[in-house]
């Protein structure tokens, strides 16, 4: 996949199409006189203008419309959207509704993490082109991943109606509470999934990881007494940062810069990272018991800044999602009514939840009729983009003597460490690469 222009002083290493990621993007490294001069994660997903066409729509339409940004993590979009609207309305969910929302979101974590760990990421550690080839070597491993993914989808289907773009979610809760028997039927599925997840964490601890440590500025929700999934107490960041989602929106400034073709979020003018490494760093003490034990057994310390080992942290989070889902399913009481009613007048509100690949921040403003007048959507991948480029810079500087093909392969794999969702980020990204 690599190409190069002949001879020094100018050398370019490109990956025209990143594979085993969600959405379409590429990467480009430029060397001038042997020195790295350019690093770019390129996005060529067409812009889709969500923030623009949400304006003028009814606020209660926002969760479903916004979900169409991403088919991999629609529950994250529905949830952050709902949280923003609930903030505007000043509404508080009942404990039963909040529990059901967390249970649904666990399904998305299982589905998305299992997809990434086993189908997209794991092949890199075995030199395989894909999970199909990996299955020829170790079918049991891939089948375990597929079982975990299936369990997540069963959760989503039972609560949401379908796994991709669930239909049962609304701001304030749900359209209909699933029957107790339907949720009870998930319990044995989740028990099996928990065993699969624990086995996955043990397996992940045996993999060989490149020894790369990065000085990331980690940003995640800090959980309110539990590992942050569908909500958190506040946004936690470097240097003791602890702010509300609305305050964080002021701090995380999005730039439209020519060299990278994207609106990139920066915190205090600098790169930061969201996702499993950030969640783990800020919430290790909130992991449920079996997940904490899995982290201990895998040798994870208080913090992990090796991007390759994000696979291991995702497996620990698979255990956590199974544990939480099992606990919530066993304790399930159908919320009645299934949603709190929202009175939406003029206002502005923010919501943040932990999409599998990182913090998803959404803000809306509404007018007196409850129609949207403004929208801001800051997905994880836009926040992670600069840190991903930072990884590539380190690898390119350290690997300048590699062949183009080897370097391209190494960098492409490094992008996958962060499970980027380019479909998510693309709604505000440039189509054409413009270099000055």
């Amino acid at each position: 996949m690599a190409t190069s222009e002949p001879g020094p002083p100018r050398r370019e290493v490109t990956v025209p199409l990143l594979r085993r990621v969600e959405g379409e993007g590429g990467l480009r490294l430029g060397f001038s006189d042997g020195a790295l001069s350019e690093v770019a994660l390129e996005i060529f997903e067409p812009p889709r203008y969500f923030e623009a066409f949400l304006v003028g729509r009814g606020a209660l339409e926002a969760p479903d419309i916004t979900a169409r940004i991403c088919g991999i993590c629609p529950v994250a979009y529905q949830t952050s959207s709902s949280l923003a609207l609930e903030a505007i309305a000043g509404a508080t969910l009942t404990p039963e509704i909040a529990a059901l929302r967390r249970l649904l979101y666990c399904g998305e974590w299982l589905q998305s993490h299992a997809l990434h760990v086993f189908l997209l990421h794991a092949p890199d550690f075995f030199g395989c082109t894909d999970a199909v080839e990996l299955a020829q070597r170790d079918r049991g491993l891939v089948e375990r991943g597929l079982r975990l993914k299936r369990a997540g989808n069963q959760l989503l289907e039972t609560i949401g109606g379908r796994a991709i773009h669930p239909v049962n979610v609304r701001a304030g809760g749900f359209y209909r509470a699933p029957a107790s028997a339907a949720v009870a039927a998930l319990v044995p599925v989740l028990r099996d999934a928990l065993e699969d997840a624990r086995a996955a964490a043990e397996w992940a601890a045996t993999l060989h990881y490149p020894d790369l440590h990065r000085d990331y500025r980690l940003v995640a929700l800090r959980g309110a007494g539990a590992y942050p999934i569908e909500s958190g107490a506040y946004v936690a960041g470097p240097d003791g940062l602890a702010v509300s989602p609305a305050e964080f929106a002021e701090l995380a400034v999005e730039h439209h810069v020519a060299h990278s073709t994207a609106l990139q979020a920066r915190l205090g003018g600098e790169a930061y990272l969201t996702g499993p490494l950030a969640r783990f760093a800020h919430n290790r003490d909130l992991l449920p018991p079996l997940a904490a034990a899995a982290a201990d057994a895998a040798g994870l310390g208080a913090i992990c800044t090796n991007p390759y080992r994000s696979l291991l942290v995702r497996c620990v989070e698979l255990v956590a999602a199974c544990e939480e889902a099992l606990r919530l399913a066993e304790a399930y009481v159908p919320p009645d009514p299934p949603a709190v009613s929202l009175r939406l007048g003029q206002g502005r509100g923010f919501g943040a939840s932990e999409a599998p690949r990182g913090l998803l921040l959404i803000g809306y403003a509404t007018d007196a009729e409850g129609d949207l007048t403004w929208a801001r959507i800051t997905p994880p991948t836009s926040q992670n983009q600069l840190s991903i480029e930072g990884d590539l810079r380190v690898l390119a500087e350290g690997g300048a003597s590699l062949s183009d093909g080897e370097l391209a392969q190494r960098c492409e794999a490094a992008v996958r460490n962060h499970d980027p969702c380019i479909s998510c980020s693309a709604h505000f990204l440039d189509l054409e690469v413009t270099r000055r």
Partner: protein
Amino acid sequence: MSDPFAPAPEWEWERVRPPTGRGRPTLAVFKLASCDGCQLSLLDHEDALLRLADVVQIAEFAELSSASMPGPYDLVLVEGSVTTPADAARVAGIRDAARRLVAIGACATAGGIQSLRNFADEPALARRVYAHPEYLATLADSTPVSAHVRVDAEIHGCPVDGGELLEVVAATLAGRRPITRPHAVCEECKQAGHACLLVTGRAACLGPVTHAGCGALCPGVDRGCFGCFGPSESPNTSSLAAGLARRNISEKSLRRLLRTFTAAAPAFATESARHGDV
């Protein structure tokens, strides 16, 4: 839109079978402007995925595999709508490489949610989102694949139903016509035994004019159908709109209902235009 699975002159199943001696039939999956959800529907067949990979050569599927084989491909699935000059050119190339091309999902078959730009001033939308809209190279409209190249079949839905997707893939490879549902959501709803939301007056519902395939999911959760599978065959959208108006559904609500995930599908676009402008 006509029945996507009606027999057509080009519906020659022999053409999609690999020439003798070429081994397994080849499958390619491509993405245009979309959310990834419809191709994920294929990966969501956890029980069938590895078996499918046994009988099919997955020749090009960027989300799943680093392997990439050049065309031609026996079966090509295309997700997403055409919104840029680059994708318009790309879809023509994809067609050239496809023995059979199936458009999957609301974006590929109707332009998707991003076809809301078709009803607005596209440069104004770009200015609202981007600091430097001059960097963009986009088309004014979001259009389905069939507006650009010949399409052998369409699978509706936002997202597609995974069962229907697998049926079309399996049927194609077996050389038979896929068994799919050409009727309206309304019929699926009756079969499922849900109380009619229009009769009970609990919600505005597009079930009578929406393409089947979801299994009447929304009425199943006490929610009106919002048309994410697009118009059914010969929908009487005007009649439904008049009926909804009699139930005190406002013009604004009607327009929004019709202008969501398949806004540019002709039956919905035409009717929504009768209910004011955004």
